[in-house]
């Protein structure tokens, strides 16, 4: 398996709080994608970070990548109710075959 043994995690926070989600992977990757999936929809890319980058920002999103520990994180600043979704990381070993982690279910409470 490409992944650590994390199951789908559930996080519940208050609106306005910051939140960080983590994923760890077992094998080499050239890039980590972070996707969000709304209920009943397909996943949609929100941010990606390449193996030569340590941090990437996009609006309220911040992704980090530590290739030495084979881990990545996604942080959301000042979470809003519309951030409620399931978040997945996905890796690519270089053959454009993307493998997804089990995900984090985030609920933002107003």
């Amino acid at each position: 398996s490409q992944w650590g043994e994390e199951n789908l995690q559930a996080l519940s926070i208050q609106e306005g709080e910051d939140v960080t989600m983590n994923c760890s992977y077992k094998t080499y990757t050239t890039v980590v994608h972070w996707y969000r999936q709304d209920s009943g929809r397909g996943p949609a890319l929100i941010i990606l970070i390449r193996s030569n980058e340590r941090e990437k920002r996009s609006g309220r999103l911040r992704a980090t990548l530590d290739t030495s520990s084979q881990s990545s994180s996604l942080s959301i600043t000042a979470a809003q109710c519309e951030d409620t979704a399931v978040y997945f990381c996905a890796t690519d070993t270089g053959y454009q075959n993307f493998y997804f982690g089990k995900g984090t279910s985030l609920t933002v409470i107003p």
Partner: protein
């Protein structure tokens, strides 16, 4: 630009029945992926194509699952003799040479 289109959106089968899922990728995207997503899990890659060629089908349960993309555009995923363990959402995604994946809404399968 039209997104990835999948059909049917829902299917309910009895064990032993067959079903086919159809995917129309974004125009011009050369790479097409099929993922299986069981409830409360991440998408699991089944097979992917570049144009009409299968690049990796090692995760496809070959005895009952098959996938084709004959003209390098639309694709069909077929499950023969469905089992309860096949209950999941089947997601199709396309990309332009392996960059961002664009997913369809998915086809939700329930096998009773």
């Amino acid at each position: 630009e039209a997104g990835v289109t999948q059909s049917p959106r829902y299917a309910v089968l009895q064990e032993g029945q067959a079903v086919s899922f159809w995917c129309d990728p974004i125009s011009g995207h050369d790479t097409l992926y099929w993922y299986q997503q069981p409830r409360d899990q991440g998408p699991q890659l089944l097979v992917y194509f570049r144009d009409e060629a299968v690049i990796d089908n090692s995760q496809l349960p070959s005895d009952r699952f098959s996938a084709v993309r004959p003209k390098g555009t639309n694709s069909t995923l077929k499950i023969q003799s469905a089992k309860q363990g096949d209950t999941a959402t089947y997601l199709c995604a396309s990309s332009n040479s392996g960059n961002t994946l664009y997913f369809g809404e998915g086809s939700r399968l329930i096998v009773v």
